[in-house]
């Protein structure tokens, strides 16, 4: 089991190295935006991993409420934390790109705002987890996770209506959208690499959560037995 996970980490690192090479060296420089466009190879895959994490968080929360398995709750906790990390990367890399290209750091456009609200929702989820007391944490967190996930499409719809001038998605958008083949190549490699990085993080955090549960249970046991601590 241990050698398997070490192999997985090494494979992920190799993949990440290769995809970084693809993004920084192989992919051609964009004509109008220049080198700053390369942030795209990190920005979009991070957004994808964040979305994936939040979906996993929702599923794990539903499974927890259904089966009451602490493992499902650990998956939910792990994926929410990793999702917030990647969502933060998205929110930081976005403005770095936007400043030279759009001339502004931030605009209240549909996808930017939705991402920010998503980030707020899952940060509040993490805050609730931190502040909830004892054995109720899992139930309360799972309930909030369901609220958060249900809210996301509503947020997107409302902000889309609020700000209709949002820019077209680069891929699968209007007629002029689409990437040069080399760029697409680099992008897809990064997407794969980031997905693997996300899985690594979730698995590591999941194991940590299980250990935390054990430590907490041991403390509770000790307190019950009237131990010194």
């Amino acid at each position: 089991m241990k050698s398997l996970s070490i192999a997985f980490v090494i494979f992920t690192l190799a993949l990440l190295g290769f995809s970084t090479y693809q993004a920084l060296v192989v992919a051609p420089t964009e004509q109008t935006m220049g080198e700053v466009q390369r942030i795209f190879y990190y920005h979009v895959p991070s957004a994808w991993v964040a979305g994936l994490c939040f979906a996993v968080n929702f599923l794990a929360s539903v499974v927890y409420l259904w089966k009451r398995s602490l493992n499902a709750d650990a998956v939910a906790a792990a994926s929410a934390e990793v999702g917030v990390v990647f969502c933060t990367i998205v929110l930081i890399t976005g403005p770095i790109w936007a400043r030279p290209v759009w001339g502004i750091w931030w605009t209240w456009d549909a996808r930017l705002t939705t991402t920010l609200v998503l980030w707020l929702i899952y940060v509040s989820y993490l805050v609730l987890r931190r502040f909830a007391a004892g054995g109720q944490t899992q139930v309360l967190a799972a309930a909030l996770a369901i609220f958060g996930f249900v809210d996301v499409p509503i947020v997107y719809m409302s902000i889309r209506w609020f700000r209709t001038q949002h820019p077209q998605p680069v891929m699968g958008g209007g007629q002029n959208s689409g990437l040069a083949p080399e760029m697409l190549h680099a992008f897809l490699w990064n997407l794969l690499a980031f997905t693997f990085v996300g899985i690594c993080f979730i698995v590591a955090r999941y194991r940590l959560q299980l250990m935390e549960n054990k430590v907490e249970a041991a403390h509770a046991q000790l307190a019950l037995q009237g131990g010194a601590r």
């Binding site: 989820y125 139930v139 309360l140 309930a143 609220f147 249900v150 809210d151 509503i154």
Partner: protein, 224 residues
């Protein structure tokens, strides 16, 4: 006991207690009065400007004020282990939840009705669009805040820092509802465009989250 009789007796009990103490309504009223005055100093708007910003001011004031009432919803039931007694009784949990939501809804709607004239006076508001639409926005919007707020108050009452926790989890989830309330109010006040989309949005939000609340309340009530 049936669903309706539990809801009715709990609601009547809460209304009677509120009528005698007037805790929630007084603190909400004073709080939103303060917000009105402070915003007025902070922005010092002309009549035309205030028509543009009033939607935001009104709803932020009501949102903050509603949190005051929502925080008190369950605190009362914790004393003397009323919630624990409720859990062991055969009464349906959703009846209790609905009673609490209806109670809070009434308090906040009364607050809005009392505060609306003050807003009109202090900000020299005159609506260009039809005023009855504002009432629809108020009812739908208040339900959106209160149904989730009551549910999240039941969550936050079980955490370590109760009073702070409620806005932290309620505000992010309420952003689309707040956006709909603010934008439809501004649309009606300034008279450009129709608020139809926002009203539908609020209705969808209300229906979806009322269902989610009813679905999950029993689980949260029984959380150990």
């Amino acid at each position: 006991m049936s669903q309706i009789s539990v809801t009715r007796s709990t609601l009547l009990k809460d209304l009677r207690m509120e009528w005698r103490s007037k805790d929630a309504i007084n603190s909400m009223l004073f709080f939103s009065l303060l917000v009105v005055v402070i915003f007025s100093f902070a922005f010092n708007p002309t009549a035309e400007e205030s028509r543009q910003i009033a939607g935001g001011l009104v709803w932020v004031a009501f949102l903050f004020a509603a949190v005051v009432a929502l925080n008190q919803t369950w605190a009362r039931e914790l004393r003397n282990q009323v919630l624990d007694a409720y859990r062991v009784s055969p009464a349906p949990p959703n009846a209790l939840f609905l009673a609490k939501v209806l109670g809070n809804f009434l308090f906040v709607v009364i607050l809005e009705a009392l505060m609306a004239p003050l807003f009109v006076v202090f900000y020299q508001l005159r609506s260009v669009g039809p005023v009855w639409q504002l009432a629809v926005v108020a009812l739908l919007g208040t339900w959106a805040l209160v149904v989730n707020g009551t549910f999240f108050a039941a969550l936050s009452i079980r955490t370590r820092s109760r009073e702070i926790m409620l806005p932290l989890i309620l505000f992010p989830i309420s952003i689309p509802a707040l956006l709909a309330m603010v934008d439809s109010t501004t649309t009606i006040l300034t008279g450009d465009g129709t608020p139809d989309f926002w009203l539908k949005m609020l209705l969808v939000y209300d229906v979806v989250f009322t269902l989610v609340c009813l679905l999950l309340f029993e689980t949260v009530l029984n959380a150990e």
